[in-house]
């Protein structure tokens, strides 16, 4: 048996997981499903591409296909994507949220998603593009698995982001406030939590991680305006599987979805890949709607 699917699944899963962190935080703290989240990924990837272009050159650090300009661009793009999310919140979501009906906010996020995607197609055309066209040779690492240097680097980056994020949520005062607010918004207000800052932190973190995930997809696959939309269902499935509000849950959910998709391609057939996330999503909603690490609604 070829075990390559395990690695492929792990990598797809970590990108899904990074995206799912933002979805799960937005859902538990701002209380709506943000369907524009996938487009934050695409915008993040294009922002990084633009910054790389502005810096000029990619200066690859062998054996990687990219170098410090891309890492720098990713950090800048994370900031820009966060700015995009904050602007969108200020223009649209905050106003609708104030009216208190979350379904309206959800619909607005559909609209925002379409607008963001169309803007990308307008600015960059819908033709796929790449950070680098260099071809990387995958090295065998045993058990029939081959891995490229980029894949290893990005898995490590994901690990660092996830661990950092988990520590932030568990140990820092702002992370604590975010968890508290998601459990009881009314109480959070009276114990003196500055709700505006919690909302801002949620957008910044969610958008920055979406950007990181988008850049990784860009490095490992390609950059397209539709890249975020294509990942939206797996991302939501991962967030719900992991339990809404749980950062480790979102990442674990992402890995499970990624591995299941890759396994489906290996054992069932590539045409079933997209169905996997959907099947898992339905199964979780029917059997254990609070997800793996979620808490049942009281």
């Amino acid at each position: 048996m070829n075990l390559q699917f395990l690695l492929d699944g792990l990598i797809a899963g970590s990108m899904i997981g990074l995206g799912a962190i933002g979805v799960t935080l937005t859902y538990s703290i701002l209380r709506f499903s943000n369907f524009a989240h996938g487009d934050f990924m695409a915008w993040g990837a294009y922002a990084a591409l633009a910054v790389v272009g502005a810096i000029g050159g990619s200066l690859p650090m062998a054996p990687l296909s990219f170098g410090w300009p891309l890492l720098l661009a990713m950090v800048v793009a994370m900031g820009l994507t966060a700015l995009l999310a904050l602007t969108l919140d200020w223009l649209l979501f905050a106003r609708l949220r104030a009216r208190g009906q979350s379904i309206i906010v959800v619909m607005a996020s559909f609209g925002a998603s379409m607008a963001l995607r169309s803007l990308l197609e307008f600015m960059f055309t819908s033709r796929p593009t790449y950070f680098s066209r260099a071809i990387q040779i995958a090295q065998p690492v045993g058990f029939g698995i081959r891995v490229t240097a980029d894949q290893v680097a990005l898995l490590l980056l994901t690990l660092a982001l996830v661990v950092g994020m988990h520590l932030f949520m568990q140990r820092s005062q702002r992370g604590r406030e975010m968890r508290a607010y998601s459990q009881n918004p009314a109480l959070a207000r009276v114990v003196g939590i500055d709700v505006d800052k919690v909302v801002r932190a949620t957008w910044i973190i969610g958008a920055a991680l979406a950007c990181a995930s988008g850049v990784m997809v860009g490095v490992l696959v390609q950059i397209r305006p539709l890249m975020g939309l294509d990942l939206l269902l797996p991302i939501f499935a991962a967030a719900i599987l992991g339990g809404i509000g749980s950062v480790p849950g979102a990442v674990l959910g992402g890995l499970i979805i990624g591995l299941s998709e890759a396994a489906a391609v290996q054992f069932v057939g590539a045409e079933w890949r997209a169905a996997v996330a959907f099947v898992i999503l339905m199964a979780v909603l029917l059997v254990r709607p609070m997800g793996l690490f979620g808490v049942a609604e009281r």
């Binding site: 005062q173 702002r174 968890r179 508290a180 009881n184 207000r189 009276v190 114990v191 003196g192 939590i193």
Partner: protein
Amino acid sequence: MAAETVLEAQGLTKRFGGVAAVNGMSLSVGKGEILGLIGPNGAGKTTMFDLLAGSVGVSAGTIRLMGRDITGEPAHKRLAGGMARTFQIPRPFPELTLLENMLIARQAQTGERLWANFTAPRRIAAEEAAAKEKALGLLDLVALRRLADEPARVLSGGQRKLLELARVMMADPKVILLDEPAAGVNPALLEVLIARIQEINASGVTFVLIEHNIDMVSRLCSRIVVMAQGALLFQGRPDEVAREPRVIEAYLGGSGA
């Protein structure tokens, strides 16, 4: 009143649709006082607390905290300004530990700023350690320290009230509004609660207390304000209130004087 005024409300009014839940209510609380706020159900006591703490906005009137007009300030600013409140039915954050519930309530720390977690980790760590020590000390005060690492959902109703009292102390308030602290608390725990309130009061903290347990009110309060139908009915010492015909009539639901 000889002491200086800490909290003062004038002509406070709150209308919900056409109904005025609080209607032109005024009160003033002196420094170091424990003021009782009583009245029949529906008199507007809790709404009065909501207005004072900033959970809901006023329809009319002004609120002053240590001489400063805070009428338009949101709740978290009032807390930072020195006024905290507890609830009739306390609800901690169920999935946070007791310690985390305490730490949530501390005020304006460097750790709140996203960047500072990276730029000034040592200062953050020091503040965190100091806050933890203070939180554990306060949990000790209310006899909950051994549960510090348990999620708050395991607490009984009475323990939740104690946790809430400890939590509001985290912000070093000058004034604490207590909404029915005795309701649903077993007698043994109630004695602990009364003793803690007296201790905290002795350290210079002012209290306003909504309470139906008249025994507790008479033991704690030197002065009582009686509300009925959203307005001031009477105020005076506990023994004066107990003798006042209008108060008795309001409680017994008379047809009005």
